[in-house]
């Protein structure tokens, strides 16, 4: 009998029999069952992560993307300062400041949005795993 099948059978031992077992054996079985549970979950999680993991970008691509975000965002984010600057008479200093501020704002928006999205994805994945464990438990126990 292979290891997995044996460990699955351990879990089926009824409590009455467990109570009559010597403590040393009981502790051994308990430890084995716990280790098996951890192993099972770890296998599931690693498989899940491997399936959902996407190709990692090279640093060149990342640099390029950063440039696009900052340059493009500098334009669109400077619209708000631009509106103010036109109200105050188009001083070139105000427009330059708007452009620099736009670049910074764009970078901040991008990093914060990415961080929030990573957080949302990780949370979803963890909650899914939690629910799966609870569901298996309900069906099994």
């Amino acid at each position: 009998m292979n290891r997995d099948a044996r460990l699955a059978q351990y879990r089926q031992i009824p409590p009455e029999i467990l109570q009559r077992m010597p403590n040393a054996d009981l502790n051994y079985i308990k430890a084995e069952v716990e280790k098996d549970g951890e192993r099972h979950l770890s296998n599931l999680r690693v498989a899940k992560f491997k399936a959902s993991q996407k190709q990692r970008w090279s640093s060149e691509v990342e640099q390029f993307l950063k440039f696009v975000v900052i340059a493009g965002g500098a334009l669109t984010f400077s619209l708000a300062p631009y509106l103010l600057a036109t109200k105050l008479g188009r001083s070139p200093i105000a427009l330059t400041l708007g452009f620099v501020g736009g670049a910074i704002a764009s970078h901040a928006a991008h990093t914060n949005a990415a961080r929030a999205l990573v957080g949302i994805k990780l949370k979803q994945s963890t909650e899914q795993a939690r629910k799966a464990i609870l569901l298996n438990q309900q069906e099994d126990v």
Binding site: H110, V118, K123
Partner: protein, 100 residues
């Protein structure tokens, strides 16, 4: 004292999950989300205000375009740069108990 090995089995799984992933339940970071959303509103609002003379439809499209682009790029960055790193860390942690 009654022992239920099935309960132990699932309790061990839940404990393992909490050991490595409990932090994720506090995500997403409120401040990051607030910054990202409010900056999106500023970006879209300014474009909307500038384009309002050209008509409502154009203004709405012009306001949504940069915001959508920002979030699409952020999503790609999350998928291809930040998540792989985090998942690698997690897989390393979980691999320890696969081998034992």
């Amino acid at each position: 004292m009654t022992i239920n090995l099935k309960e132990e089995y699932y309790a061990a799984q839940m404990k393992k999950l909490n050991d490595h992933e409990q932090d994720h339940l506090a995500e997403p970071s409120k401040s990051a989300l607030l910054w990202a959303v409010s900056l999106s509103v500023v970006e879209g609002g300014a474009a909307f205000a500038l384009l309002l003379e050209a008509g409502l439809l154009i203004a709405v499209i012009g306001a949504l375009l940069p915001v959508c682009l920002l979030w699409a790029l952020a999503n790609m960055h999350a998928d291809h740069a930040e998540l792989p790193e985090k998942l690698d860390d997690l897989m390393e942690q979980y691999n320890d108990s696969i081998q034992s």
